[in-house]
C-alpha cells in the first residue's frame, strides 16, 4: 500500500522538468522553490498527503493549502512541475517518499528531476557569491551539467531526503540533478537560494529575476526563524553529520 498519496486537482501534462524544494540546510530549497512559484506565477495542480507528514494545514489569504504541493509552469513551449514542501518530515518517511515520487515521475514522463538545496559551508559568512555544486545521476545528467558550464559535485556525502531521491533515481536510471548552493547550515539563507535559482536557470532555461529575493533577504531571514528551528530538529535525525565526513573512496 502506498504511504504517499498524490491528489491531482487537474490533469497533469507530461513535463520537461520536475523541480523539488524542501526545507533543509539553510532552508535553501524552501526559499528558492516558494520564490520561484511566486515569480513565475505557477498554479497549483496537485498535493501530497501521508502519515509521515505532521498534522498541519496552511492558510493563505483565507484559503487552505496542504503543506506539500505540486505546481505547473509553462515557458518557451515547455512544461515544468514544481514540488514544494513547507515542512520537514520524519526520516522514517524518506524511503517511501523517494520511491513513490520516482514512480510518479516515471508515470508523468518527466524528463529530469532537479532538486534545490544547500550544502553547509563554514566559510559562508565570507562568501559574496556562493558556488553551486551539481550532483547528477545518469551520464546524460553529467553531460548536461558540463555542457551548461556548471560545477560538478565530485566528492562527498549527500544525506537527507534528497539523498534518498538520488538513490531511487540511480536504481531506476532516471535523470536527476541536485543543485547544492554553499549555505549557512542553521540560518535561513536567501543568498544561497538565489544562487541555486541562477544555476537552475542555466540548467533548465527557466528565466527568473533574483534581485527582489536579494532585496528581501533580511526580512525573509527574520520571518523564517521558527521554520529554521523546526527544520534543524528534523535534520538532527537525518544523518546530516555525514556531509562533513570524508568518504573512504577519496583516500
Amino acid at each position: 500500500m502506498n504511504e504517499w498519496l498524490f491528489y491531482e486537482l487537474e490533469e497533469i501534462p507530461q513535463a520537461e522538468y520536475l523541480i523539488v524544494g524542501m526545507p533543509d540546510v539553510g532552508l535553501v530549497g524552501l526559499i528558492a522553490s516558494t520564490y520561484l512559484v511566486r515569480e513565475v506565477k505557477a498554479s497549483i495542480v496537485a498535493y501530497l498527503d501521508s502519515r509521515h507528514l505532521p498534522p498541519v494545514i496552511q492558510y493563505h489569504e483565507a484559503k487552505p493549502y496542504p503543506v506539500m504541493r505540486v505546481y505547473r509552469h509553462a515557458e518557451d513551449g515547455k512544461r515544468h512541475l514544481l514540488l514544494v514542501s513547507e515542512v520537514p518530515f520524519n526520516p522514517a518517511g524518506y524511503q517511501s517518499f523517494a520511491g513513490e515520487l520516482v514512480e510518479w515521475v516515471k508515470l508523468k514522463g518527466v524528463y529530469r528531476t532537479v532538486l534545490l538545496g544547500g550544502i553547509p559551508t563554514p566559510q559562508r559568512m565570507n562568501l559574496e557569491k556562493p558556488s553551486v555544486y551539481c550532483a547528477g545521476v545518469t551520464e546524460s545528467d553529467l553531460k548536461e551539467i558540463e555542457r551548461k558550464g556548471l560545477k560538478l559535485f565530485k566528492e562527498g556525502y549527500v544525506s537527507g531526503p534528497y539523498a534518498q531521491i538520488l538513490k531511487e533515481c540511480f536504481k531506476h536510471s532516471i535523470n536527476c540533478v541536485a543543485l547544492f548552493a554553499e549555505s549557512f547550515l542553521n540560518y535561513p539563507d536567501p543568498g544561497a537560494a538565489a544562487a541555486a535559482i541562477l544555476a537552475l536557470s542555466s540548467l533548465t532555461g527557466i528565466r527568473v529575476n533574483v534581485e527582489p529575493l536579494l532585496e528581501q533577504e533580511e526580512e525573509i531571514r527574520a520571518k523564517l526563524r521558527e521554520t529554521m528551528k523546526r527544520t534543524m530538529e528534523a535534520m538532527q535525525e537525518s544523518g546530516k553529520a555525514y556531509e562533513y565526513a570524508i568518504p573512504a573512496m577519496y583516500l
Binding site: 559568512m125 542553521n186 540560518y187 533577504e217 533580511e218 526580512e219 531571514r221 527574520a222 520571518k223 526563524r225 521558527e226 529554521m228 528551528k229
Partner: protein, 139 residues
C-alpha cells in the same frame, strides 16, 4: 539483572528529562508581548582557544545592538529598523516583532574582560577568549 535494571532506569530518566525539555520549549512564548522581542537564531562554537557566539540579527543596524555581560551570563538586545508586522497571523496578533533578545549562560573558563563583538551582514559574532592555561610541572 541489577545492571539491566539500573540501565533501564537511566534510560527512563533520560527520556523523562527530554520530554520535560520539549514541553518547556512548547510552553515558552514565541514573542515577549511587552517588548516585542523574540529570541534570535544563534550557535555557540567551542574552540580550544576561544568560544564564538554567532547570532542571526536580520533587519538590525550595528548602532542598535547592545551586548551586556556579567561574570556568568551574556545578553544581546537589538532593535529592528523596521518592525515586522505579522498581525494577519493569529498567534502573533496584536504584536509586532520589534527586536531580539538573547540571554545565555557563559561557558566556563572564558576571559570575560576581553570579549570582542563584531557585526557584519546581519550576523553578530561575539568572541570570548579562553582563560590562559598554566603548565604544570610533571615530576
Amino acid at each position: 539483572m541489577e545492571e539491566w535494571f539500573e540501565e533501564t532506569a537511566r534510560e527512563i530518566r533520560r527520556e523523562i528529562r527530554r520530554l520535560v525539555r520539549e514541553f518547556e520549549e512548547l510552553l515558552r512564548p514565541i514573542i515577549d508581548t511587552e517588548t516585542g522581542e523574540v529570541e534570535p537564531l544563534y550557535e555557540v562554537l567551542k574552540r580550544p582557544d576561544k568560544v564564538i557566539i554567532r547570532v542571526d540579527l536580520p533587519g538590525v543596524r550595528r548602532e542598535d545592538i547592545e551586548v551586556y555581560r556579567t561574570e556568568d551570563r551574556i545578553t544581546v538586545r537589538a532593535k529592528m529598523g523596521n518592525p515586522l508586522n505579522l498581525c494577519d497571523i493569529p498567534v502573533y496578533s496584536g504584536c509586532e516583532i520589534r527586536g531580539y533578545r538573547l540571554d545565555l549562560e557563559l561557558p566556563p573558563n572564558v576571559d570575560t574582560e576581553n570579549i570582542q563583538a563584531f557585526y557584519r551582514k546581519g550576523y553578530l559574532e561575539i568572541t570570548l577568549p579562553r582563560r590562559k592555561a598554566y603548565r604544570v610541572k610533571v615530576e
